[in-house]
Symmetry: C2
Subunit: 364 residues, 2 copies
């Protein structure tokens, strides 16, 4: 593994869209007892369900801590590769490398990671194990690695169409806990040079109460070039309404890198999903403080799906809109099977199916 200090786009590399062909997917076996209720017992079952579906059409590589290897091996299918790796938590989207390709090889980008806001408004301390994963994953895959650790970024805060357009949110990328010394223009420049982007579409915000400072991957995702899904509610009394409406207004009044207008498909939200007393009772404290409060609204959204080679894996919440979400995605991904997985036990950790995955683009 070479450590590279150049800019990927200058080397002819760019980040492909998630709906492009994958080599595989990186995930992390959950373990953190203040994130996952009851010793991550139910979370592991939910992760395993997700992994089994993805592994039908691409290689899944699961990072497990030394102590968790046997648990992972016993719960996962044979065709899943498990590699030993320490982690602080289990959000592969945010701690694994963002992969770029020139068509024939892949390279990883090792962004700085500070647990979604560092000492300003991050979610845990320390985060050094997470921050070391991207580089080690490149090493394990024999992929060269771009050192971008001076720039704080999580994979969940960016979506690309693979044709020069990037979607993100101001709430996250301009947050004070990430790169406070960089202007919006400097951040734009960084994203363009590292990811091979020509046009950035900035939404103002994400999903209500999303503790990542409102990652893009919970509210809006490309389904094809020029087409996105947007998490939506018609309930004007819900604080999410104004947030989603502001995103819609921006999307309907912009064009992508190719000059195309954006076709927006509304993906209805489930009714508010709130954590119960019993679920909170199953969470260890963090530094003597509870990590969740009973009744707290979780950032549930169907947009947090993962696009595998032959399937789309979509969270389900036991809500009336579960089936509608699957129907809409099935229409948008006619060549893929849309598989719903009950994801409440992933959501309790703070994210969802997209957050626990990181695709590796296909390469020859």
């Amino acid at each position: 593994m070479k450590i590279l200090h150049s800019e990927p786009s200058c080397d002819g590399f760019r980040m492909p869209a998630e709906f492009s062909r994958h080599y595989g997917c990186i995930m992390i076996w959950p373990h953190r007892r203040d994130s996952w209720q009851y010793g991550a017992y139910e979370a592991r079952k939910a992760f395993a369900e997700v992994i089994k579906v993805i592994a039908k059409s691409e290689k899944v590589i699961v990072c497990a801590r030394y102590d968790d290897y046997d648990s992972a091996r016993s719960m996962l299918p044979d065709n899943v590769r498990i590699i030993e790796m320490e982690s602080d938590d289990s959000w592969a989207r945010d701690v694994a490398p963002t992969f770029v390709t020139n068509g024939s090889v892949i390279r990883g980008i090792d962004w700085g990671f500070n647990a979604w806001g560092g000492l300003k408004d991050g979610l845990y301390f320390p985060w050094d194990k997470d921050n070391k994963m991207a580089r080690k994953l490149c090493d394990s895959l024999d992929a060269d690695c771009y050192d971008q650790r001076d720039f704080i970024l999580e994979g969940g805060s960016i979506h690309t169409d693979g044709e020069g357009t990037l979607l993100t949110t101001e709430a996250c990328l301009l947050s004070k806990g990430r790169n406070p010394d960089l202007s919006k223009e400097e951040i734009e420049e960084k994203l363009k040079k590292t990811l091979g982007i020509q046009k950035i579409i900035w939404l103002k915000c994400g999903i209500y109460n999303d503790e990542t400072n409102e990652h893009i991957d919970n509210i809006c995702a490309f389904t094809a070039p020029g087409e996105v899904v947007l998490a939506w509610t018609d309930d004007t009394d819900d604080p999410q309404y104004a947030m989603s409406k502001s995103c819609l207004d921006i999307l309907e009044n912009t064009t992508d890198a190719k000059g195309r207008p954006i076709k927006v498909h509304k993906l209805p939200l489930p009714k508010p999903v709130c954590i119960t007393q019993k679920e909170c009772d199953g969470l260890d404290d963090l530094n003597g403080e509870p990590t969740r409060i009973p009744g707290e609204r979780l950032a549930a959204s169907y947009v947090n799906f993962y696009i595998a080679n032959h399937s789309v894996i979509c969270p389900q919440f036991g809500d009336d809109n579960d089936q509608q979400a699957i129907a809409i995605l099935s229409r948008l991904f006619p060549d893929r099977e849309v598989v719903g997985i009950q994801a409440r036990d992933i959501l309790i950790g703070g994210g969802n199916i997209h957050c626990i995955t990181q695709q590796i683009p296909f390469f020859d």
Copy 2:
């Protein structure tokens, strides 16, 4: 990774010779402070020298503990892959899988490992991290894994010509700390079925004071089908003389699996190498006891070389015979460069260059 409970030879798999083409080589970054003097500082430099030579002609995969990853990465070349893995010590030959192949894929054999004798006469306790490595290495390589953990065996106790013959020592394989409930015939049967062997040549013993119960890989090694090198001294007062002579007598009076007589090339031993007071001072105690005593004779032997695709890496001891060993091996391996590496800092740990390597056969 599938866990297989069948016998490799019944599945059409066999262990190739070390002098056959390799895919690569597994090694482990040293760390154990009661094995390696002064915090493994010098040992790491010696390991790095070995790795650099091997990595010129095959892929080297180095297992490093979480805490040691940065050290390994900073000391090793870019083309070496470093993977995170816990270990008790650093003897890849004995804890990594023994690989078998059917010509198109490789599979690993996960033998039981008990630190060279378990509670009977093993060298440390616990050894569970080492014992888990073979399986995890198979997983990391996407190789299926034969579960042979009920049978205690280290890779350093066997050598094969790849044509049906296996060399081993009675001192080791019939020791009371390994498989005391199995007869010699049952052990023969196990080796034949797992490794694809038809004929086992049992030497009585190995190198004097070799704490592995006298592994074969320190005294005798195949250099080609029908040809071996044997560690040798002409000093009849040295206890090694009778040991080497007994091996010579056996080798000169047997044939290999193909019915060929064995051509024995004597490889002179260095003069006795003994550990110094200063070296012992650099070793942490184990359970309150020193692991070495000043003046203790170490099991130094030039036979403990590694055969890489384009080179043979041979230990050097600052002895008059260093050059002769290289000259003999150069004659026996005319297509490979024989590279000598000062190996005292490896020897202090109890083994040598062959012991810290494990080849992965080439596969398509």
